[in-house]
């Protein structure tokens, strides 16, 4: 028993590669992709490789990927993904990908993708730009359903939080041109989402073209191992989405672990300042403000 326990500890500490940046979800709700981009890259690469070898009928379709920040502060300031720069071990992969899902690839059109992102954007409350009092940015819609779409640096979109649910995704583009609602794509995701988890429109298991036996987490481990080192420039700074720029009369607020405003700036999210070091919830969360006028 002792030996087995020791073996497990040794296993989870096994190094899989190196990182030159901190991967975290403290500001994933406002656009930080440091802990999400590499997961999407790993998933897209895996599905692309499988498709090239086994699905010639879909060879012409672009492969995109979605992933969500599973740990986004629900349980408090300690409930975030946070992997320091330096050696990356197996247990860090579990921090980056919390659940034991398996990879699935779905075949969807551009309209489906837009509807998918509209659903994910329920993460936010509707903001009234004229209101002078503070407005909370993040709704009760769970972070694990806040899917972030990415691909091979070719996906871009905006989330306009001044608009109601269902009308928030703007300027969705692929390869520099507006995404054609009728064009077909392959999107790498997990078995939960592809099977209908979270009730994303049209996702019900019928669009799955590949149900892999491999877990999303193992795919991430494989990706980091193959790359040996991951770098912010190529794995943690491609912000596929940002908020639509809008000047608000009052502060727009959200919570995260305290004292990290500088990290938001380092990770490319502008206009984040800490308003209160303690939000009063007793969960180790601070109140931040984001200036939507500089996004």
């Amino acid at each position: 028993m002792q030996a087995e326990h020791q073996g497990t500890i040794t296993y989870v500490k096994t190094p899989i590669g190196n990182s030159d940046f901190r991967l975290s979800t403290y500001f994933a709700d406002v656009g930080d992709v440091t802990a999400i981009q590499v997961v999407n890259q790993a998933q897209a690469k895996y599905v692309k490789a499988y498709g090239a070898a086994n699905l010639p009928q879909y060879a012409a379709l672009p492969v995109l990927s979605v992933s969500a920040p599973f740990k986004s502060g629900f349980a408090g300031g300690g409930d975030y993904t946070d992997v320091a720069s330096g050696p990356v071990a197996i247990f860090n992969a579990a921090d980056l990908y919390q659940f034991a899902n398996t990879i699935q690839a779905v075949r969807v059109n551009g309209a489906d993708i837009k509807a998918w992102l509209e659903s994910a954007a329920k993460r936010f409350n509707q903001i009234d730009a004229t209101k002078t009092t503070a407005q909370a940015l993040v709704s009760t819609f769970p972070g694990y359903n806040f899917d972030v779409l990415d691909g091979d640096a070719n996906v871009r979109y905006e989330i306009d939080v001044t608009q109601p649910v269902g009308s928030r995704i703007r300027n969705l583009s692929y390869n520099g041109a507006p995404m054609d609602p009728a064009a077909m794509f392959i999107v790498a995701t997990n078995n939960y989402r592809a099977s209908g988890g979270g009730s994303f429109p049209g996702l019900d298991g019928s669009k799955t073209i590949y149900a892999s036996p491999d877990s999303n987490r193992d795919t991430l481990i494989g990706y980091v191992k193959a790359a040996q080192s991951i770098a912010k420039s190529s794995n943690g700074s491609d912000r596929s989405w940002h908020f639509t720029r809008v000047a608000t009369a009052g502060p727009v607020t959200f919570t995260s672990a305290p004292g990290l405003a500088a990290l938001a700036a380092t990770d490319g999210v502008a206009g984040v300042t800490q308003l209160q070091a303690d939000d009063g919830s007793g969960k180790g969360l601070a109140v931040y403000q984001i200036d939507l006028g500089v996004q």
Binding site: Q57, D204, S206
Partner: protein
């Protein structure tokens, strides 16, 4: 119906490398035997290329036309996989699936329900979709149980009812359906569906999902 694919996977893998077996299967399929037709179609599904794909549709169509409801189900699913998501596109598939659903195939009931629940549809059609999901779920289709749970949770095609949603997730989880186990893992972690926040239960559900997924491999 869920078990249909995994159970046959090993056999199909063997057939793929056995020209004589494949030939025999093709002959039986050509003579219209339902079971051979379905097996041959399954084999063709694993063959790359457009020719195999269209042969597969032909084989399933013959068996479906001869009245085999399981072949009609597979045919409906195959035609859907070829469509581009449009409503009109799905009509030929729907015709076969409805026939199979009326004949009592749970997977076909679920697929008819799924088509009726597509986002662009009218509310009346969505509630018809929930009724089909319910029939499939009651017939033991675990994916239908999960989708029914989703519909009841979201109030899509039925009045929102979290308790009923939870009950269907639990039934699907008892059948080791991984997405339902994950839905419960997330619900325990976040205190959803009337459950208390319980990290240990969440981990247990995630672990069971991992086991179920490994088992399906």
């Amino acid at each position: 119906m869920q078990a249909h694919r995994p159970a046959s996977a090993a056999k199909v893998a063997a057939w793929l490398h056995d020209a004589a077996a494949e030939q025999a299967l093709a002959i039986h399929a050509a003579s219209g035997e339902a079971e051979a037709s379905r097996a041959y179609a399954l084999l063709l599904e694993h063959r790359p290329g457009a020719a195999a794909a269209s042969m597969r549709i032909d084989v399933l169509e013959r068996a479906a036309e001869a009245g085999d409801a399981l072949a009609a189900t597979r045919l409906g699913a195959a035609l859907l996989a070829l469509s581009n998501g449009g409503r009109a596109d799905a009509l030929p598939a729907l015709r076969w699936l409805e026939r199979a659903a009326q004949a009592g195939v749970p997977e076909a009931m679920r697929r008819v329900g799924m088509l009726a629940l597509q986002p662009a549809n009218e509310p009346a059609e969505a509630s018809r979709g929930v009724a089909w999901l319910r029939r499939a779920a009651e017939a033991g289709d675990s994916a239908a149980m999960f989708l029914l749970g989703n519909a009841l949770r979201a109030g899509h095609g039925a009045a929102a009812d979290e308790r009923a949603a939870l009950a269907w997730y639990e039934r699907a989880a008892d059948a080791e359906y991984p997405p339902a186990l994950h839905a419960l893992a997330l619900a325990h972690a976040h205190g959803e569906l009337g459950l208390a926040i319980d990290a240990a239960k969440s981990r247990l559900m995630d672990h069971e999902a991992a086991e179920a997924l490994a088992h399906a491999r």
